[in-house]
Every structure is written in structure tokens, then in C-alpha cells.
């Protein structure tokens, strides 16, 4: 969801670096062991990892994934032992329910105090007692549009079904996000388990398909910057970056409501260095570090102390990064819907895709 390059290129680049650069780290294995971190692509300031290694003497093996769904089988099958993973809300819930996660020992994570209580409160929707997950980034899903290419300011999902923007629309290529848009447009919950509502949402998406230029994930960002399309569905965290690059772009959370999401650090059951993992999570909650990450990836931080440190007042008070409460009240988090509904959503999505 938050990778910045096409994951496949990343994967191949990774393969190349492991072949040619594989021996780089092995000589300097940390004196305090190592941890394996599994995070979204381009979701951290690389300097932060070096600083962590220097400060703690723990070597970090860093790996990246593209979607929650890509990450899940690797962690659940135990094929690779990760120490820290950064899934989204509904995936955290699924992993808790399946007993894949280790409870955190907050004695080792004193920096949790820097995290705004409000976000810990919202995290309870998927982690009821805040036992498993420390929020890392959060944001909304909304519409990014090019002011010079649309008639009037946009405030509704309806615009994604407007004939006059045929071929100018970029949709998210992931089941839950695409269905969230259609369900919200129809005024339903984005966690709907009502077959009639889902059928209606599917019809909407099928109707929309001829108008869509492409279904993409991160490419939305670059395509919008390059004026390839007028309207795109995007994560708020990318919006600040795109606006920096192209000042014609505007981000809005539609009035019908949208998705608000939280990605957080969790420790899988089969981790090999729990203390190291907790040290890493603690390090990430340090205000200075959280600020570095925020400035690098531009995804909203739940770290209150870090937000205080933001120097640029425009960013600090940005409605995109830190929307008002009334916007958030319109938004819902994704819940894990269970295996049965996962499959139903997937099959409906395939029907949309094959039209």
C-alpha cells in the first residue's frame, strides 16, 4: 500500500543487492545480536536504521513488502522468522486472532509515552488491550485531484463515476481499498458483510471500470505528479509528497466518509530476538527518530512529541496530515472480516477485474 517503487522492481533490485552486496553486512554482525525487520517499501528513513545499529549494537536485517496480503503468508507460514513487522489495522487483528503475535513487554518500550493517547485508543479497535501493536503511521484514504484539470473543487466519491473524467481516473488496485470507495459512495460501511450491499458495490465498480485509466498502487503518486491523470485515489501520506512536487494537486477526504488506517509494529510469535525487537520499536517511538521518519516518508505520525518538533508550521498544522476531528468522525477503520468474507470480497473483485 505504501511502497514507492513498483514492488517487483524492488524485489529484483533486492535480489541483485543480495547477490552483490550480500557480504557487506556479514563482517559487522552486531555485538548484541540481530533482528529482522519486515516493513512496507520506502516506509522508513534509511539513516534511522544505521543510527539504531550504532546506538544499540544490534544488527538490522531489513526487508520490505508491498501489501498486507503479500506479507501475511510469509509470516504465517513461519517460512521466515521476522522479529518486527509493520502490518495495517485489519491485518493486525487477523494475526492476533490467529495467534501469530507475541505480547509486547512495555517495560522495554518506555517511549510509548510519546504516542498520542487518541491513537492508542483507536488502535483498540483491532488490538483491544493495546497488547500487541504500537502505532507507527496513520492516515486517511482520499481523492487527489489536479486543480487545473477538473471543473470545480471535489468533495465526493461520485466524481470517480463522472463520465466527463473518462480515462482520467486512477483507482487503487487492492480489494479492500477499491470496495471501500464503492461502499462509501453508496453510504454503506466499508466493513460490510451484507451480500446485497457487496453486490451493489461490485456493480458500481464494474460500471466505473470503463472510466478508469488504470488500477495502480503506488504509481498513483508519480502519475499524478506527471499530470497523467486528473483524479486518483491515494493515501494521505502520499498527498503531502505529491503536493510538494506539483502544487496543482489537492487532497480531499470525500464527504461520504472514507477509511482511516493505522500501521503498527508487532512482534511475531516465532521471532528470535524479542528484546532486540522491542528495543527497535522503542527506538522508533523516540520523538527525534519519529520526526526523521515523518519528514522522509511524509506519512502522519501518531507521535505527539514528534509532531511538536515539526518546524514547518504549514506541515505541523496540515489538514492533510492531521485532519480535523469531524473528518475523522466520518472515517472508519478496516476490520478483519474472517476467512469467509475475505474470499467473498476476493471473488467479487475478480469479477470486477475480468469485466
Amino acid at each position: 500500500m505504501r511502497r514507492r517503487l513498483t514492488g517487483m522492481v524492488l524485489a529484483s533490485a533486492l535480489a541483485i543487492t543480495t547477490i552483490f552486496g550480500g557480504c557487506k553486512g556479514s563482517g559487522s554482525a552486531g555485538e548484541n545480536g540481530q533482528i529482522v525487520v519486515y516493513n512496507w517499501g520506502e516506509y522508513i528513513d534509511p539513516d534511522v536504521i544505521d543510527m539504531f545499529e550504532e546506538e544499540t549494537g544490534i544488527k538490522v536485517v531489513y526487508e520490505e513488502f508491498t501489501t498486507n496480503e503479500d506479507m501475511y503468508p510469509k509470516v504465517s507460514s513461519g517460512a521466515a522468522a521476522y522479529d518486527v513487522v509493520c502490518p495495517s489495522d485489519y491485518m493486525v487483528q487477523k494475526m492476533i486472532e490467529e495467534g501469530l503475535l507475541e505480547k509486547l513487554n512495555y517495560d522495554n518500550i518506555p517511549n510509548i509515552a510519546n504516542i498520542d493517547k487518541d491513537y492508542l485508543e483507536s488502535a483498540k479497535q483491532f488490538d483491544p488491550d493495546n497488547e500487541y501493536c504500537v502505532p507507527y503511521c496513520w492516515g486517511t484514504v482520499g481523492i487527489l485531484y489536479n486543480k487545473t484539470m477538473v471543473e470545480e473543487p471535489i468533495d465526493s466519491w461520485d466524481v470517480l463515476w463522472d463520465e466527463q473524467y473518462k480515462g482520467e481516473i486512477l483507482m487503487q488496485k487492492s480489494v479492500r481499498d477499491a470496495f471501500a470507495v464503492a461502499l462509501k459512495k453508496l453510504g454503506y460501511s466499508l466493513n460490510s458483510k451484507d451480500d446485497a450491499e457487496l453486490e451493489a458495490a461490485k456493480q458500481e465498480l464494474i460500471e466505473q471500470k470503463p472510466l478508469v485509466q488504470a488500477y495502480v498502487i503506488d504509481e498513483v503518486r508519480d502519475k499524478m505528479i506527471n499530470n497523467e491523470a486528473a483524479i486518483g485515489v491515494i493515501y494521505s501520506g502520499e498527498a503531502i509528497y505529491t503536493q510538494r512536487e506539483n502544487s496543482d494537486l489537492e487532497y480531499v477526504v470525500p464527504k461520504e466518509g472514507s477509511n482511516v488506517w493505522i500501521d503498527g509494529w508487532v512482534i511475531p510469535k516465532n521471532c528470535s530476538n524479542k528484546e532486540g525487537a522491542e528495543a527497535f520499536i522503542n527506538f522508533m517511538c523516540d520523538p527525534e527518530i519519529a520526526l526523521m521518519n515523518f519528514e522522509y516518508i511524509t506519512y502522519s505520525t501518531p507521535n505527539k512529541a514528534a509532531r511538536e518538533l515539526i518546524e514547518d508550521e504549514d506541515i505541523k498544522n496540515s489538514k492533510v496530515a492531521f485532519p480535523d476531528k469531524d473528518v475523522l468522525d466520518r472515517c472508519e477503520t478496516f476490520n478483519y472480516l474472517g476467512e469467509e468474507y475475505d474470499e467473498i470480497y476476493n471473488n467479487l473483485w475478480k469479477e470486477v477485474m475480468s469485466k
Partner: protein
């Protein structure tokens, strides 16, 4: 040292990376979540959207294979005619892009074809109409032809270059016209190369999911994309494997045809 023992590393390699994975695909394809035997994963292909993706993939890869053949055959003939220096240069031109990663090459096409991409910028500079094929099946065909053309050229070239000039001269001495020489001598003798080229283009084109993903804008689902999504998005390895088995039927069919026409293995690419 016994010569046979030299083969062991290859046997271990083949067992580990070809046979075992195949056995796993067959196992997953024929079982359900509980591990009991089922054929449901195979019949999944008959579901409307999977079936359509298969037909579309067959259609697009057939078209691409045909275009490759039409482009490659004359080129192979030209290569045979020109001097050794020149033709190794042309072959180098064909092989050179293959040193670059396949994904990067396909991504480059995305950038080239985009609405405000390189090609359209040049066209609009020349006041020519824009080319709008990105995110359509045409772009996918272009991507397939571009990526797989060398696999058609090389086997055909390899076969044609081995045709004994004396056979052609004999034909001419006996009064055959150029057309007759081509239809009665060169074409029949190059069949193994053609068949080999067809399989080498058709199979990867049929199974690709990257090209359709990058150049089709995610709007066009081929059977490769369906299988990929079963594994990555849906996390359903059983259905994914089941459909891979169905796809394998087509691959085995083309390999059977190859074996029938190319008994001596002449038409191999390298």
C-alpha cells in the same frame, strides 16, 4: 573419475528446484484446505472470470506469437545472407537488451507509452496525433512481442544458417525459381526452428502476468494474473496451484508438438 558422477550436481539441482516444486504444485492443486483430495481447484477454471482470463491470455499470446514469427522469419533470412561481421552485430543488438532486467525493460515501455510519455511528447512536438495504447491489450501485445522476439529469431536463424548451400544450389540447377527454392527447400527445412520459436514465445507469453500488469494498467486480467492474485492477494494456494495445473496442460501440449517436429533439437536458441 566416473563421468556419471559429474551429473549429480545437476540431478540434485533438478530434483530440488524443478521436481519438488512441481510435486508441491500437484499436491496443492489436488487438495483442499483440510488436505483431502479434490478436483474443485481444477474445475475452478470453468468459473466465468477465470475462463475468460484463460481465453484472453490464449488469444493475446497467439497474436503475439504470430507477429513475432512474421517479424523474425525475414530477419533470419537476411541474417543468413549478410556477411559474418554484420550479422554478429545484429545478433548482438538482439541479445543486448536481454542483459537488462526484463522488468525494467517493461517498465521502460510504460514510461515510453504513457499519455505524457516520451513517444507522445515527440508526436505532439511534430503535431502528430497522440498514441493512446497504454492500458489496452495492444500495449500488452507490444510488450510481449518486444520481450519475446529474440526467442523467435534465434532458433529460426540457427536452423536456417545450417541449411547446406549445396541443397539450394542443387535446387536452382534443377530449374527451381526463388519462390520454389523457398517453399520447397528453405521453409520445410526450417520447420524445427519455427516450431521451437513458437513454443519459446507462446509459453512465456501465455503465462506472463508482469507485462499485462505493467502495460495493461491492471485492467486486463490474463490467466497469469489470476494465478498470481490467488497466491498473493487471496492467499489461496490450492486454487492457484489448481489453475497452474490447468495451464500446464497447454504448456505440455506445446512441448509435445515441439518434440514431434524437432527430434534432433536443432531449433534450440543457444
Amino acid at each position: 573419475m566416473n563421468k556419471k558422477s559429474l551429473a549429480y550436481p545437476y540431478i540434485i539441482w533438478m530434483i530440488g528446484f524443478i521436481v519438488l516444486p512441481l510435486i508441491m504444485v500437484v499436491y496443492y492443486g489436488l487438495t483442499d484446505n483440510t488436505g483431502s483430495f479434490t478436483l474443485d481447484n481444477l474445475t475452478e477454471i470453468l468459473v466465468d472470470y477465470n475462463y475468460k482470463a484463460l481465453w484472453l491470455a490464449l488469444g493475446l499470446s497467439l497474436i503475439s506469437t504470430l507477429i513475432c514469427l512474421i517479424l523474425a522469419y525475414p530477419l533470419a533470412m537476411i541474417l543468413k545472407k549478410i556477411s559474418l561481421n554484420q550479422h554478429s552485430f545484429i545478433i548482438l543488438l538482439f541479445i543486448l537488451p536481454m542483459w537488462m532486467n526484463f522488468l525494467l525493460r517493461t517498465l521502460a515501455w510504460q514510461t515510453l507509452l504513457e499519455r505524457n510519455g516520451v513517444i507522445n511528447s515527440i508526436l505532439s512536438m511534430l503535431n502528430l496525433p497522440k498514441l493512446n495504447i497504454i492500458n489496452t491489450p495492444y500495449a500488452i501485445i507490444l510488450g510481449m512481442v518486444y520481450n519475446f522476439l529474440p526467442f523467435m529469431v534465434l532458433p529460426i536463424y540457427n536452423v536456417i544458417v545450417k541449411i547446406d548451400p549445396n541443397v539450394i544450389n542443387a535446387g536452382k540447377d534443377l530449374g527451381a525459381s526463388n519462390v520454389q527454392v523457398f517453399t520447397k527447400i528453405i521453409l520445410p527445412l526450417s520447420v524445427p526452428g519455427i516450431i521451437s520459436g513458437i513454443t519459446m514465445v507462446f509459453i512465456p507469453a501465455l503465462t506472463t502476468f508482469v507485462i499485462s500488469d505493467l502495460l495493461g494498467g491492471g485492467k486486463i486480467l490474463l490467466i497469469g494474473n489470476v494465478i498470481e492474485q490467488e497466491f498473493t492477494q487471496a492467499g489461496n494456494w490450492h486454487v492457484g496451484s489448481g489453475m497452474s495445473l490447468v495451464l500446464m496442460i497447454f504448456i505440455l501440449l506445446s512441448m509435445a508438438i515441439l518434440a514431434k517436429y524437432d527430434k534432433k533439437g536443432e531449433g534450440t536458441a543457444f
